[in-house]
Amino acid sequence: MSAALHLHSEAAGSHEHHGHHKQSFISKYIFSMDHKTIGKQFLITGIVWAIIGGLFSVLFRLQLGYPDQSFPILETIFGKWAKGGQIQPEFYYGLVTIHGTVLVFFVLTAGLSGTFANLLIPLQVGARDMASPFMNMLSYWFFFLAGVVMLASIFVHTGPASGGWTTYPPLSALRQAGDGQKIGTDLWLISMALFIVSSLLGGLNYISTILNMRTKGMSMTKMPLTMWAMFFTAVLGVLSFPVLLSGAILLLFDRNLGTSFYLSDIVINGEILPNEGGSAILYQHLFWFLGHPEVYIILLPAMGMVSEILSVNSRKPIFGYMAMLGSMFAIAILAFLVWAHHMFVTGLNPFLGSVFVLLTLLIAVPSAIKVFNWLTTLWKGNIRFTPATLFAIGFVSLFISGGLTGIFLGNSTIDIHLHDTMFVVAHFHIVMGVASFFGMFAGVYHWFPKMFGRYMNNTIAYIHFWVTMVGAYLIFWPMHYQGLAGMPRRYLDKRGWASFNQFGDVDKMITVVSIIVFAVQLMFVFNFFYSIFKGRKVTTKNPWGANTLEWTTEINPGHGNWEGEIPEVHRWPYDYSKDGRDFIPQTEPVGADESKH
């Protein structure tokens, strides 16, 4: 085994010599095969999409907060979509749909695991690059293409897809059902198909790199938890994304070729369709078979990075490494067995429902273990509040809050009331949306020095954290109450309803806060780009005093990562404050008199 690894590292070493040939701008920055550059491409593309998705949410928040007000500037910009300065329903639903799709897939999947799996896997396991740098490059460019198609769909004359990010048929299968169900939905489906190809290319690469290309001494259980998180994420993606792809292709067939996979007994606008025998619920099974693992595809990388960052900055080993690993494994397995909890009210067989209640609530056990282990990691630490640490602490707080509301929704007896209400919106935005964003921010602040050899500005970073943290709770906490009142999600104007119109002031408050929070995200973006060129320079190889391998490379590592031999690993990555020493890097051999952990 070790001989094989050695051989491999030599082969990779010769590859590195080629890497030092002069590269053109295009092969270095555009069609790059360097995992670090590809990671940055994913991140920057993700940021662009996050701005678009965030801006869309501000627009529909305007409508939700001020349904009776007219904003003439909207008509100037969007024309017929905002007639009279008011966001029209078709436009509203388009905004909601693209907001959801873009943030779930383009930002929190590609932008998060695409960025950090690419950047960190070779650096932390000790490899010169990914198993297949070429496939890795293709992965980014398929993602880019998916983005181009999605962007194009926003500009077609009937508007983008507007059936919600879940795109349930028959709504999404019938052109007659509305403007957003016309060409916009076809483009949405094509974009998703391209995106899935991208994530499969990436995922296969991450798995094979972690399994085959670890450096000498890096056994699986000596890997940082981030690597385990990326590994489970990739496995989830590779096993579940193809199912969504098949669902999307069947939907394209129903839309364009007259098949009846999802269609049966339909009369729309007085027109009787010939389809019989299809099942609309089939799509939901296919969708959520990806859709639920997707939640963990988004969360696990954040969990991994948070574990790493909390450990480094509290100068303590992560508490319960094996338990953390085991709970991630349990989450990964359970992720495949809970999809139907999104379907409790579809007329699902009640017995099946009860099985899914059991399996869903089971996930709370590994999640609880993780939370308690993070808390114990902080306990008796010596904590440095870098911006990354703060975002990691914020992640834990949000994960607790949002995780607990999951216990309500996972229980079908409560879900039968709260399903598809604002409670669900609050729940998944906190636990999946904002929490994962916090993990992503933590990662960006922590690894920025490795990516660009500079630091980001701390003052803006602290403002960014505090406004976002307070804002996230102000925005999403009150939504739980709206949901408890039964207020359905995706209602753009509640004034006609006796049961839901009592939240006008709350909606206004949420809108104002979300505009402020959005503005502060723009400050983050500015800080990010400014610091790439003008940030304070990093002067040491290991600015955080961390044990993992990426901090043994040069400040600005070239293609191939290490100039000489790839270092050998002798210990786990969490020897902080052991035997009176602040930190002991993984590369240091275990001393004879060292205490065991």
Binding site: P89, G163, P169, P170, A177, D265, I266, V267, N269, G270, A280, S314, K316, P317, G320, V345, G347, P350, G353, S354, L361, A364, V365, A368, I369, V371, F372, W374, L375, L378, N382, I393, S401, N411, S412, T413, I414, I416, H417, D420, T421, N457, N458, Y481, L484, A485, G486, P488, L492, D493, K494, G496, W497, A498, A519, M523, F526, S577, K578, H597
Partner: protein, 347 residues
């Protein structure tokens, strides 16, 4: 003009913050990075504690402000079960919430970096880990047990004496059908649907059970304390029958009928008195994204006594007679010029 003003202020704010941020970095370099890092460490640790305290107060404040806005007591027997499950879950989760959030922020504050202390090397402790695997597991077992017990009660078979009402959704409104005296809904076929020929549900007129079925739109009438079984369907896309006051919901799926049963326990009149709101109405909200009019897909429900209900139903003419006036004994045959076709035309 106003918009430009707002944008100008935002941009200005941006520039000012940015300049301050840049200046503070220079100051930090001048004062020594280590000193200023320690200072910001103390500030952020203190802020975390402040956030905890203000946050906890905020939780109570939000609750005091907003709990009055959620709907009052449930108006159905199943709703009582749903609410009970909700409050049991709330009681457990709220303890976990307070304990973990307080520990998180308190540890962060208490164990902030200090030169006097070294971090404690504490990689694992099997006993602790077993404890906090076991406690959540036991708690969740209880919740699952309760949940499934109630779930079977709610989704179990409807009692025999339950009245049947059909609810059908279409873009963007609700239709209802009552079975009439024979207590059975007649069969239907979607290709018979023809609103112009007075057959909006596609009833098969040859089926005798259809002859006394009553069709109504927008407003559903139910009888207080009498179990009702809703037979739910949709004609075009998926809708969802959401009944916030009864705490129930079931999707309306084209091609796949679903059912849901419950017993309304309060009349509309009673609710008006209890809430002190003379305009009180039970509402039926579509909960599944169904197109541009989703947000306005509102139905209303009137819960009344058996006598009131019987009178209301008696005032409605069966749809069979509306669609086939020649069969209507109350209309003289010779006044009808051309009888409507029996089976509706298939388009």
């Amino acid at each position: 003009m106003q918009t430009i003003f707002v944008i100008a202020i935002l941009v200005l704010g941006f520039i000012v913050t940015f300049q301050i941020a840049k200046a503070s970095e220079y100051v930090a370099v001048l004062r020594g990075l280590e000193t200023s890092r320690k200072q910001s460490n103390r500030i952020n640790a203190a802020l975390l504690l402040v956030f905890l305290i203000v946050g906890l107060i905020g939780v109570f404040y939000a609750n005091a402000k907003l709990k009055g806005k959620i709907l009052g007591a449930p108006a159905s027997d199943h709703g009582v079960l749903v609410d009970r499950m909700l409050y049991v879950t709330l009681a457990i989760t709220i303890i976990v919430f307070f304990v973990t959030q307080i520990l998180l922020f308190w540890f962060s504050f208490k164990y902030q970096e200090s030169d006097k202390r070294k971090a404690f090397y504490f990689p694992h402790n099997n006993k602790l880990e077993v404890i906090w695997t076991a406690i959540p597991a036991i708690t969740l077992t209880i919740l699952v047990g309760f949940g499934i017990f109630y779930w079977y009660k709610i989704t179990g078979k409807a009692p025999k004496e339950a009245m049947v009402v059909e609810v059908v959704g279409k873009q963007f409104g609700w239709m209802y059908r009552y079975p009439g005296a024979d207590k059975e809904l007649g069969r239907k076929y979607f290709k018979n649907i023809n609103a112009e020929n007075n057959n909006p549900l596609g009833q098969i007129w040859e089926d005798g059970n259809n002859h006394d079925d009553v069709f109504v739109e927008q407003e559903m009438h139910l009888v207080v304390n009498k179990p009702v079984k809703l037979v739910i369907g949709a004609q075009d896309v998926i809708h969802s029958v959401g009944l916030p006051h009864f705490r129930l919901k079931t999707d309306a799926v084209p091609g796949t009928p679903t059912t849901m049963w419950f017993t309304p326990t309060k009349t509309t009149k009673q609710m008006k008195e209890e809430t002190g709101n003379p305009d009180f109405t039970f509402e039926l909200a579509c909960d599944q994204m169904c197109g541009r009019g989703h947000w306005s897909m509102r139905g209303t429900i009137i819960v009344e006594t058996q006598e009131e209900f019987d009178m209301w139903l008696a005032s409605k003419k069966p749809q069979y007679l509306v669609a086939n006036p020649d069969k209507d004994p109350s209309i003289k045959k010779d006044t009808v010029a051309t009888p409507a076709p029996i089976a509706a035309v298939i388009k």
